[in-house]
Symmetry: C2
Subunit: 342 residues, 2 copies
C-alpha cells in the first residue's frame, strides 16, 4: 500500500501548519531558512509528491494542453505532435491527444471534452467546415482557452494559426513540372472547403498562367487522399481527348496511386509523364522511383504552434492576440519528375 503523503502529514510530523509547509516548498521568501530546509528535507524523506489535481483545482490551470487531429497514424500529424510535445515538455505541460477520424461530430465532442477537462490550451487541425459548428470553437474562446489551428485552418476571430504557404507549395511544384518540359499538367485537389486544398490549387493555376500555359478545367480532379483514389483519377484523365503529361497531386498517396496506374499502362515515368506530390511522406523518398513532393516541415509546425501557445497562455484575458504564422514550403525534387540532369 502507498499512503499518499500530503503537506498535512509533513506539517504534523514537524509540529507546524500546512501553510508553512506549502510556503517552504514554494520558496516563499517569508519563510525562515532553517524551516525551509527542514521542510524540504522531511518532504523528501517522506517521499512527498505534490498533488497536481489539488493544485489544478486551486489555480484553475491543469497544465495539460489538448491536441486534436483527424488521425494520429499519419506521418504528418504524428510529426506535428512530436514537435508540440518536444517544445512543451520543458515547460511542464502534458499533451492530450484526440482524434476526429474526419468526423465533425467527433470534433465538437473533442472540443467540449477538452474544455471540460480544463486544458490550458487547444491546438488542432480542423477536420472539416460546417457553418454551424462555429459554436464549439466559440465556446472554447469564451472560456478563455487559447486556441491555435495548425495546417488546416479556419477563419475565426481570436484564433491564431500556424500553416504553410500552400499557394507557394502548389506554385513551386507546378513550376518545377513546367521547367521539366511538361505542358499539360493535371492537378489532384481535395475538399475545397479546406483552405489548404484551395490554396494549392490556386498556386497551381497561377504557375500555369505565369508561364503562358492554359488552365484546363478538365485537368483538375477532386479526389480523396488514398492510393485507390489516385488510380481512379488517372483512369479518368487518360480518357480525355488530350491526356495530360504530368500531375501535381495535393496528396502523396494519390500521387503514388497515379504512379502505380501509369506503370500498369506502361507509361514511363519521368520520360513520358511526371508526377509530384504533397506532404513528403516517408515513403516518397524510399521508393526506387522516388516521388517529388512538397515538404510541410511538420516538426517545425508543431514547435511553432507550441510557441504561439506559450506566448498567449500568460497574457491575461485583456487583449485577444491573433497571430498568423506562415511557414515556407520546400520542394523535394526526386526521380518521378527529373528528366533533365542525371
Amino acid at each position: 500500500m502507498s499512503e499518499k503523503v500530503t503537506i498535512y502529514d509533513i506539517a504534523e510530523k514537524l509540529n507546524i501548519t500546512a501553510a508553512t509547509v506549502s510556503r517552504a516548498l514554494n520558496n516563499n521568501p517569508k519563510i525562515k531558512e532553517a524551516t525551509r530546509e527542514l521542510v524540504i528535507k522531511t518532504a523528501a524523506a517522506m517521499n512527498y509528491k505534490q498533488n497536481k489535481l489539488a493544485l489544478a483545482l486551486k489555480s484553475g490551470r491543469s497544465n495539460n494542453i489538448g491536441v486534436i487531429v483527424p488521425r494520429i497514424d499519419s506521418n504528418f500529424f504524428a510529426s506535428v505532435i512530436r514537435g508540440i510535445e518536444e517544445e512543451l515538455y520543458p515547460h511542464g505541460y502534458q499533451v492530450i491527444i484526440c482524434q476526429t477520424h474526419e468526423s465533425i461530430k467527433r470534433e465538437n465532442e473533442n472540443l467540449h471534452t477538452l474544455v471540460d477537462a480544463q486544458v490550458d490550451g487547444i491546438m488542432m487541425s480542423v477536420t472539416g467546415i460546417s457553418d454551424e459548428n462555429d459554436s464549439a470553437f466559440r465556446n472554447v474562446l469564451e472560456k478563455n482557452v487559447p486556441l491555435i489551428f495548425f495546417d488546416r485552418s479556419k477563419h475565426i476571430d481570436g484564433v491564431s494559426s500556424v500553416t504553410i504557404n500552400d499557394f507557394k507549395g502548389g506554385y513551386l511544384a507546378t513550376k518545377h513540372l513546367i521547367d521539366e518540359g511538361c505542358r499539360n499538367i493535371a492537378h489532384f485537389s481535395g475538399d475545397q472547403s479546406l483552405d489548404i486544398f484551395k490554396n494549392r490549387f490556386l498556386g497551381y493555376k497561377q504557375a500555369l498562367l505565369d508561364n503562358g500555359l492554359p488552365f484546363n478545367e478538365e485537368y483538375v480532379i477532386f479526389t480523396k487522399s488514398s492510393v485507390e483514389a489516385g488510380k481512379d483519377a488517372v483512369d479518368k484523365l487518360l480518357q480525355l481527348e488530350t491526356p495530360p503529361d504530368a500531375i501535381f497531386s495535393s496528396s502523396d498517396f494519390a500521387a503514388l496511386g497515379a504512379i502505380q496506374e501509369l506503370k500498369e499502362r506502361n507509361i514511363s515515368i519521368p520520360s513520358e509523364f511526371c508526377v509530384a506530390g504533397f506532404s513528403n511522406e516517408p515513403f516518397t523518398k524510399f521508393m526506387e522511383l522516388s516521388i517529388t513532393s512538397v515538404d510541410q516541415s511538420p516538426l517545425e509546425m508543431g514547435r511553432m504552434s507550441a510557441r504561439v501557445f506559450l506566448e498567449q497562455v500568460d497574457k491575461t484575458d485583456t487583449i485577444k492576440i491573433e497571430k498568423k504564422v506562415v511557414l515556407a514550403p520546400e520542394l523535394h525534387i526526386r526521380k518521378s519528375s527529373t528528366r533533365t540532369n542525371f
Copy 2:
C-alpha cells in the same frame, strides 16, 4: 467573459443547496422527480459544465491515462496509440502522450510526471533496460496505478503485457526464406536486452535448426533500426568468405537499407538474394519491389492494451492481476522474397 457556472450558482438560483443540485445531476434516487427535472433544466439553461478537476480531486481519479513510447512519429507506435485511443474514448478516458526518445532518463521522468499527474493508468513500450531503473516502475505500482507494457516488455511482478509472439514471427519469416530456396540466411537483430529482438533471433535460429541448416554466428549482425545501418550491415556480410543469400531483418528500415545496398551492387532481388523485414511499415507495401514483412497488428495491440487496463482499473487493490496477452504475428509475403510462383 465567461463566468464559470458551478453547482452553487444553480443552487442559489433555485433556493436549494449545492448538495441537492449535485444529487439531482447524478441521478441520485433520493431526489424528487420534479426537483431533478428543474435542476437539470436550469443547469442546461445556465450552460453549466461539471468541473472535472474538482471531481478528480474528490474521487482521486483523473480520467486520464498515460502512454509512453520511444517516439510517436513511427507508424507502429502511432497505430498502437490510435488503437488505445479508440478503445478508451467510449469510456471517457483521455490519452496523455509522452516520448522517451530512447532515453532511460526521460523514461523515468515521464513515469514520475504521469504518476504526479494522477493518471489512472500507464501503458508503455519500454525504452531500454537498466538494472537500476526498476525503481521508477515500482513507484508506479506502489501508487496502485495499473501499468501495462506493450510490444517492448520487461519482467516485473504485477505488470501486465500485450506483445506479439516474436519468436514465431522470426520463425515464420525465416522458414519462408528457406522455402524459397535460400540456404545462407543472415539476420539483423537489435538491442539484446530487449525481449523482442532476442525472441526474433531465437525464432530465426530455431527455424534454421528445424530445417537442417547450420547456425552461423557470423551471419548475425546487431544493428540499429535505420536505412544507413542496413547498408553498413550488408557491406559487412558481403565481405564474408561465404556471403549469405538472404536476410531476415528485425527492422523494416534496415531491410530497406539492405535492399538499396544490394541493388547498388547489382545483386538482383529476389532471384539472387531474398529479404524479409519486421513491422510491416507502410512503405514496405508501397515499394515497387515490395518488401516481405512480419505484421505486428499495432491497432489490435493498442486496443488489447486498453482492454487489459479497463479490466484492471476497477478491481480494488486487493489482488494484483498480471495478464500476459500474446498476439499472433502475420507474415506478409511480397516481392522481395518471392521466387516461386508469379
